[in-house]
Symmetry: C2
DNA sequence: ATGAAAGCGCTAACAT
DNA sequence: ATGTTAGCGCTTTCAT
């Protein structure tokens, strides 16, 4: 491996000069030596040693990104947007899954810290919302020695940077969409009730129902777990209830519901209208139709990066709270 | 940030001793000081500085993984398997997308090298198979200063480590499956003809057809590009041809074909039998059925890691060529 | 059983 | 316009 010394020796100048030139801080170096340095560096295939540079500069030019699961399309798309942004600034991204486990989340934060990342983008596990875990996480995050942005899943407290989607608005849009099409008896298949996203989406549902003066029947508000099977199971329970529409709190459960509906030879949207949440892009390809609330993960990633890199650069703490708006995507799963 | 010096001072020993103890190379240190060192390190929340350690050890404890696109389910699952394996050995993974662009691929290899990764797992872009690019890539890879394993998409040459699936076998299995169900006129929607995967899958098709003494009609062997739209378009062209079954070289195109079939009010498997490739897991949830060739990405990742970390550890070069077997997944899209 | 000291490759303050 | 030097935090050889 060729070092800065090798280049210096070959050119016949000091390492300082080489360093200065190669880092483009070379106002004071003559064009001639400058040109020569670039040439020799290229000839010798010199690449700066990152470790050495980090040791001096106290920057790793690396950020951490923790997400629940890269296999989830929403998060893989989020990663991509973040990776692009970071790379354009000369940063790399260390990606870790927490598998929606609080314990794993704690562990990977430690791992990343030991790598001396310059900043952290964090999507916490759903489990972390459980009361017994929240305090531990908040304590940990408040004592982080580096800038932090909570992404998508945030805490209420105002002492964290956060970028997230307005889940209540999403719930409202979905419900309103069904109401607009004449539905009055609208069931919900929610997420786990302790998750913020589910809580907020449900609030949106209430808001829309109340606004339209519709009565809410708690018998058709069932709790799911955001997985396919629970959507199917809950829909099964709803089949003999009195309702015409279902708001599933994510697309995976919505597809579970569709499966259940098909199994009794009924049809969407003829027998049941259905709205999901996530706008799982791949689904539109698979010849299935599902109206859904769409969250633009690219923008989510960009906003998170803006905040993080601004803090990294200016070392100022200027807490931000960015709430993004989801939109309704229509595809044909809602009928009167 | 507390350093090893701080710990040494607090305990009242030299940095050497602290380093030795904390790295468990402490055969020669007394139990007492040893215990104290651990205590103080914990109290002071000491974490070793990675950059400093790397500078000395010449290891970054980081590997690179380059894939075409993390949004592709096959690759996100591959990443997960690799990340797990690497983490269990104390390594981190720097993940980069090449977006199936040769140029980007070259760039990210450079970027990773400048980070002094200890090894590289590489899934090249399909574009790289073009003749004008192959030489450049081979030259680059042969001169890599670190261990390399080509994953999934490999070169024929024997001077690279490689782990991949037997695409010919996959093509054979898919075609044989259709033949076994009585089909004689079997169309193909292939990948781009310059890609190795497509070439091999087609060879498998020929092998199965020949074995069964079936005549091959080149009019129903159409080239796609592995995307949904091309599956739809090619199927459209096939609709008025004389055939009963289609082998699409990936699931995305298979779903495109299904869309096309549905649009003329025909049905799978009643009017056309269909086999895909990839066994796109999510699809099984979306109430769609598609027989498909399945490649276990977890095993792919593990085998790649085994080779890479063995080379990193032993610094021996012992070229390996691991060919994994795909399997047929049946789901109901094939009929007599 | 423990310490002193050199040096990894680089940056930057200070000289010249 | 260019060089000298200290030092970042750590590991490791060699003394004691």
């Amino acid at each position: 491996m060729t070092t800065i010394k090798d280049v210096a020796k070959e050119v016949g100048v000091s390492v300082t000069t080489v360093s200065l030139v190669l880092n483009h801080k070379s106002v004071r170096v003559s064009q001639a030596t400058r040109k020569k340095i670039f040439e020799v560096a290229k000839k010798l295939k010199y690449t700066p040693n990152f470790a050495a540079r980090s040791l001096v500069s106290k920057e790793s030019k690396t950020i951490g990104l923790i997400i629940p699961d890269i296999e989830n399309a929403f998060f893989s798309s989020l990663f991509k947007s973040i990776e692009d942004y970071a790379r354009s600034l000369g940063y790399m991204v260390l990606l870790m899954n927490n598998n929606d486990s609080h314990q794993t989340n704690i562990e990977v934060i430690d791992l990343l810290l030991s790598r001396h990342i310059d900043g952290l983008l964090l999507v916490i596990s759903n489990e972390t919302y459980l009361e017994k875990y929240q305090e531990e996480m908040k304590h940990l995050l408040l004592n982080l020695p580096i800038p932090l942005v909570m992404v998508d899943r945030v805490f209420d407290e105002s002492f964290f940077n956060k970028v997230y989607f307005d889940n209540q608005l999403g719930g409202y849009l979905a419900t309103k969409h069904l109401i607009n099409h004449g539905h009055k008896k609208i069931a919900c298949i929610t997420g786990p009730k302790e998750t913020k996203s589910s809580e907020k989406r449900l609030m949106g549902y209430y808001q829309a129902m109340n606004e339209a003066n519709l009565t809410i029947n708690k018998d058709i508000l069932l709790e799911g777990d955001y997985h396919f099977d629970s959507g199917k199971k809950r829909m099964n329970e709803l089949l003999d209830k009195d309702l015409t529409a279902v708001f599933a709190f994510n697309d995976l459960m919505a597809y579970g519901a569709i499966r259940s509906i098909h199994e009794v030879n009924k049809n969407v949207p003829k027998d049941y209208s259905l709205v999901g949440y996530d706008h799982f892009l791949i689904a539109t390809m698979l010849d299935s139709q599902l109206d859904s609330i769409e969250q633009n993960s690219k923008i989510l990633g960009e906003e998170a990066c803006k905040i993080l890199f601004s803090e990294i650069k200016h070392k100022t703490e200027n807490l931000q709270d960015i709430c993004l708006k989801p939109v309704l995507f229509r595809s044909g799963s809602v009928n009167i």
